[in-house]
Symmetry: C2
Subunit: 159 residues, 2 copies
């Protein structure tokens, strides 16, 4: 447990790296909320409930559910993900009857890009990859919102 | 900010009162998860996002959403709720297209009782009440699960 460089967040104490991750998640929550979604972000600690899959952010609009794992990049590049992280996201969205995405914030520009989970490349049993080209063709937030509010299923969306 | 009687919860530090509240929420999360729901509980701190309504626990089963505010009692008694808390829960469930409940744990017995939010008694502009008789007629967890998994809307359920 790291106790250096802690920052107060409400009445809890967290290492700065977690605070930064929270700030990005909170940015996503606010944007989706402003588009009319019901949104909830995962708690800081799921440590006692490891078998339960908490996505970073869950957004719901009239029964349509999207579950997101949040990543940040400073520039366009390939992204690698743990297989267990992807499996948890899939399990959550299967139960919820929703769609799962990796939500990537390009930190400099403030742009959010969404990659449907079924487009990830499986490298081996433990890792998935989002190649740079796939990231660049990601769905922008406004497009995601239109699709969810429309009649199409998200998985029918063609970039 | 209280810093006495803190307990470690994963890698964050919390006052014991919050830890106890979390343990009850986590119990509810686990039970709903074991019934096949996708479940998420709210983060410890929503302090920077006060205009965003986070229910304590959100559970989803194939697009059907239930949003819960969690309360605990040691014995059967009337319960009072802040109007703002009720308003936030209603706003979330309106956006999500779901149903809202006050989930009450009777601590001694471990029983959970669910009161649909439209059954609360409004006392004045700032407070709602769950009278003791209403609490006693609350929906048990198994009944709630059956209704959500069935074809009925939750609001059609008659005790």
């Amino acid at each position: 447990m790291k106790r250096i460089n802690k920052t107060e967040l409400g009445d809890i104490l967290l290492p700065n790296s977690k605070v930064r991750a929270f700030q990005h998640e909170r940015d996503l929550v606010k944007r989706l909320w402003d588009h009319g979604f019901a949104v909830v972000r995962a708690p800081a600690s799921g440590s006692k409930a490891k078998r339960i899959a908490y996505p970073d952010v869950v957004a719901i609009y009239k029964g349509r559910v999207i579950a997101c794992e949040v990543k940040t990049v400073r520039k366009s590049r390939s992204i690698y993900l743990d297989g267990s992280q992807v499996d948890k996201l899939l399990e959550f969205s299967r139960r919820a009857g929703g769609d799962a995405f990796i939500a990537i914030k390009v930190v400099g520009s403030g742009t959010w890009l969404f990659i449907p989970i079924d487009k990830l490349e499986k490298i081996d049993s433990k890792r998935y990859k989002i190649p740079k080209e796939l990231l660049n063709s990601g769905l922008h937030l406004e497009a995601l919102v239109s699709v969810v509010k429309g009649v199409k299923r998200l998985t029918e969306f063609k970039e």
